[in-house]
Amino acid sequence: MQRLVCGMLVLALGVPGAAWSQQKVNVRRAAAPDISVRIAGTYATLRIVGTTVDSLVLTGTLPRNARFEAFDGGKGVEPLRGAKVFIEVPEDNAAASGELELRVPARARVWAKAGVATIEATGITGGLDLNIVGGAITVTSSPRELNIESMDGTVTIDGSPSWVRAKTAAGDIVMQGSSEDAAFTSVSGTTRVTGGRFDRGRFESVTGAIAFTGVVGRGGALTFDTHSGAIDIRLDTQSNASLEATSVAGTIENLLTRQRPATGRDGRGQELSTDIGSGGTPVTVRTFKGPIRLGRR
């Protein structure tokens, strides 16, 4: 790895007004179409934009006292194949002012990590791995791979990533789109998925509610698990699925088929086994005491 030449980091010296306390970031390099970029540290907002241009452009402003280091994996004039950016802000009160925009080829793989931050990604078709403690992550594109981890930050996905994983402790997860392979896990956050077809899907929470509206893909499997979170599933009439639902100590409301839920083991809770359409794809719904509601989209 080489350090990017110092000239790429332009300090905003002599700029009047409030801007004097900030430094400008302006990094521009030719990049391979599938470049890997890692950006970590303290910043308030990061906007990741996938473009049709084979170059890496990182612009924005950081607090003047922020330490900004960028490394690249290129050799001389060759397009970058990888880059690392690290931002350190010594004072917490300055952290909120860092704003960055990263423009990369659409097929790039971007790994970003921050504390409390807002990360927005758009136009990426490669891979995204985003990790925050608080704030929000919004992805408006359909990357091939999408991995998101957040403690209490909200996760919003508007797109159809082939493979997606989102994990939160308390943050809500909202997705509009479809996926071949999806897994959403939250302890207490709400998971709300609305969209098209899901082939393989796993939706888990402890106390958080799960709401799914979509089509069950052929040959896949969907699993919904909560401890006490409510589960609301609305399936498209085109779906062909064999559904097994159990609430050990809760209730099941079935508006999807004519099958009526049976009383569970030892007279507690309810169970339901029913086919939607011609049956087929297994849909498993399990909860300890959350209410289950099944309906049509």
Partner: protein
């Protein structure tokens, strides 16, 4: 014959989801085209075979000792469970076993419930690389423990003998396999708690609060499921839900430890 039916069209025909017009066209083509009829037969034969495959295959009971030995052998490092995690918070006496209220007061020296607060533990030496190694090791253990828990839970059936769990207010009886899985789970909690404790000063108070709040929710859920399992030891759904909640706790501890170490 040209314009053969696509794979998707054949599947839709089998699933009966064609519109009347499409179905009519499809039927017409199948009557005329031997190639597509052959592919349709092949598809239907495959579906019949798949329908006959067992949905779950329980691993043989005798496989666990070998599995456990292999897991032990693959550990990157073996960590002591007694390093600096003596911070069981006040009022947590009812859940002495790594966040399993109602769970046994089994020999788990120094194991806190994965919480980050409480009486401070002696400040441990925190070389950064050491904490990263611990997190890495803990991640390996998480995978191993999750697999083991799943395996054990899946193979715990009606025929598994019960184990009397001592140390609770009223002695609880759990299936032996579940009790064994809990041991594995608690070991992983212990390892992750060590990693977290070593690096906890790196976490912001806000993060600590979030983690603690959610660990408390998980512990309450585990206690509730576990209590129900004692009453109904053969309940597979309950086992699945409990195993899922265990995984959530391990995952949360891993993420918190990783946040601290990076």
């Amino acid at each position: 014959m040209n314009n053969h039916l696509t794979w998707e069209e054949l599947n839709d025909h089998v699933d009966g989801v064609h519109s009347p017009a499409d179905e009519s066209r499809c039927q017409g083509h199948l009557e005329r085209c031997s190639d597509c009829r052959a592919r349709l037969d092949e598809l239907q034969a495959t579906l019949r075979e798949v329908a006959n495959v067992a949905r779950e295959i329980d691993p043989p009971q005798e496989s666990w000792p070998a599995l456990r030995a292999e897991l032990e052998r693959r550990k990157l490092v073996t960590l002591s469970g007694e390093v600096g995690i003596s911070h069981v918070p006040p009022g947590a006496e009812s859940s002495p076993s790594g966040g399993l209220p109602g769970a046994p007061a089994r020999a788990l020296p120094g194991v806190g419930p994965g919480t980050l607060s409480g009486a401070p533990s002696p400040a441990p030496a925190r070389p950064a690389m050491w904490s990263r190694w611990r997190v890495a090791a803990a991640a390996v253990l998480l995978v191993a423990a999750s697999s083991a828990i799943t395996t054990l839970v899946l193979r715990s059936g009606e025929g598994t003998g019960p184990t009397v769990v001592a140390g609770t207010a009223s002695a609880a009886i759990l299936p032996a396999a579940v009790a064994e899985a809990e041991e594995g789970y608690l070991a992983s909690v212990r390892e992750l708690s060590v990693a977290l404790d070593v690096a906890r000063q790196e976490l912001s108070p806000r993060t600590i609060a979030i983690v603690e709040r959610n660990l408390a929710l998980i512990d309450a859920a585990i206690a509730e499921s576990r209590e129900a399992l004692v009453r109904d030891p053969g309940n597979r759904v309950l086992l699945d839900v409990l195993a899922g909640t265990y995984r959530q706790k391990l995952e949360l501890l891993r993420r918190a430890a990783q946040l601290a170490s990076s």
